[in-house]
């Protein structure tokens, strides 16, 4: 029995119905973790059996910002750092839809940091998938707020000396109700995490540690993207519910991964409705509930 079927583009990959095939191949480098993360999200959406018409994806700028352009969903490629507030507006206009922000560490946490923490504080019902490659890749490998101390980048040529953000701690302390971190290698656990995050009402956050071979690995002489994957394999420590003060990422040391936070808290729209109901009583028609008049 021969299983070697080497067919050109006419073949249909099972994830194609979630991809804009007229834009594939994508622009990302070989061994980039973004394609893998998209597969995880696509699988999660399939497993959740959601109506894909009711899912929107919003991205900012950067390598990960391009995700919106490849996913066959209502997809929005916005400005640098503003994916979260754009998604907030979209979510409030269409609370019946699932809003997923898919963006990078620089976009979400540096230029968009303020939006990130405030949207987490409000517990707006959205899922934020942050692909963390420790560097600004699209612009050529500059130091990021996630770059580990001593790691080199094009703007920290002698090694970074700034304290990086601990993203799960930031998200959790800002109010996120679901926080997980996995690497692109933990593909099944990552898929489960994305699935849980999308299903979770409220602000859910999944950090994905992803290899960047062209910049992060090259500038730090860490080998290829495959070598980074091997590093994740050997150095990831699964610790569900870990003390988030201890999940900082140092340069080429252990990476604590797992599901850290999974709590219940009323969402922004639930709070909005509750607050107004308290004051206006029956005169108030709860927002985001179909009254059959729109």
């Amino acid at each position: 029995m021969s299983v070697e079927i080497q067919q050109p583009p006419t073949e249909e990959h099972p994830k194609e119905k979630l991809l804009r095939m007229d834009r594939i191949p994508h622009i990302w480098c070989p061994t980039c973790g973004l394609g893998t993360t998209i597969t995880a999200m696509a699988t999660a959406l399939e497993q959740l059996e959601l109506d894909l018409n009711d899912v929107a994806v919003v991205s900012g700028i950067g390598c990960t910002g391009r995700v919106a352009g490849y996913m066959k969903l209502d997809s929005f490629h916005t400005t640098h750092g503003r994916s979260v507030p754009f998604a907030l507006g979209l979510h409030i206009a269409r609370p019946d839809m699932k809003t997923i922000v898919f963006s990078g560490d620089g976009d979400l946490i540096s230029i968009g940091g303020n939006h990130f923490i405030h949207t987490a504080r409000r517990n707006v019902d959205m899922t934020v998938i942050c692909v963390n490659n420790f560097i600004y890749a699209m612009t050529g490998g500059q130091v990021a707020p996630t770059t580990p101390i001593t790691a080199r980048s094009s703007t920290s040529p002698y090694g970074n000396y700034e304290h990086p953000f601990n993203l799960p701690l930031l998200a959790a302390s800002s109010g996120a109700v679901y926080v997980a971190r996995w690497t692109a290698l933990h593909i099944r656990r990552l898929t489960t995490a994305i699935k849980e995050a999308i299903a979770k009402p409220g602000f859910s956050f999944v950090e994905v540690i992803a290899p960047c071979s062209t910049l992060y690995a090259r500038l730090n002489k860490l080998g290829s993207g495959l070598d980074l994957m091997k590093f994740y394999h050997d150095n990831s420590v699964i610790k569900h519910g870990a003390d988030l003060r201890e999940v900082d990422i140092d340069f080429q040391t252990k990476i604590v991964v797992g599901k850290f936070v999974d709590i219940e808290k009323p969402t922004y729209i639930e709070c909005l409705n509750e607050g107004n109901k308290r004051v206006f009583g029956d005169k108030y028609k709860p927002y985001g509930v179909d009254h059959g008049d729109s």
């Binding site: 299983v3 990959h13 994830k15 893998t36 597969t39 290829s224 495959l226």
Partner: protein, 97 residues
């Protein structure tokens, strides 16, 4: 491996079988599929695709267990696995040896 218990219902378990499909022209040669295939089914081939990468090739077609790991790890949507319903030949399970 030899310390693993042999399941009591080993005789009734059918090992799933998969058929690999490689879309060579999409491949960027990252080798994730080759590295992480638990059964060592793949290797990078010597041939080049149009982009100049070496796409993987199937070297042990009968050992694919349809675990989908290659499909999920592939960053370029260039490989996928389809379940083969009927097993044509019994593949010896390692633990039986």
């Amino acid at each position: 491996m030899r310390f693993w218990r042999i399941p009591l219902d080993i005789d009734q378990i059918k090992i799933p079988r998969g058929e690999l499909h490689i879309i060579k022209e999409r491949c960027k040669g990252c080798a994730f599929c080759v590295e992480y295939c638990p059964k060592g089914v793949l290797k990078l081939s010597d041939e080049f695709n149009a982009k100049g990468y070496h796409p993987p090739e199937v070297i042990k077609p009968n050992e694919c267990v349809n675990c989908d790991l290659c499909e999920m790890l592939c960053p370029d949507f260039a490989i996928y696995c389809l379940r083969v319903e009927e097993c044509q030949e019994e593949v010896p399970v390692e633990s039986k040896k």
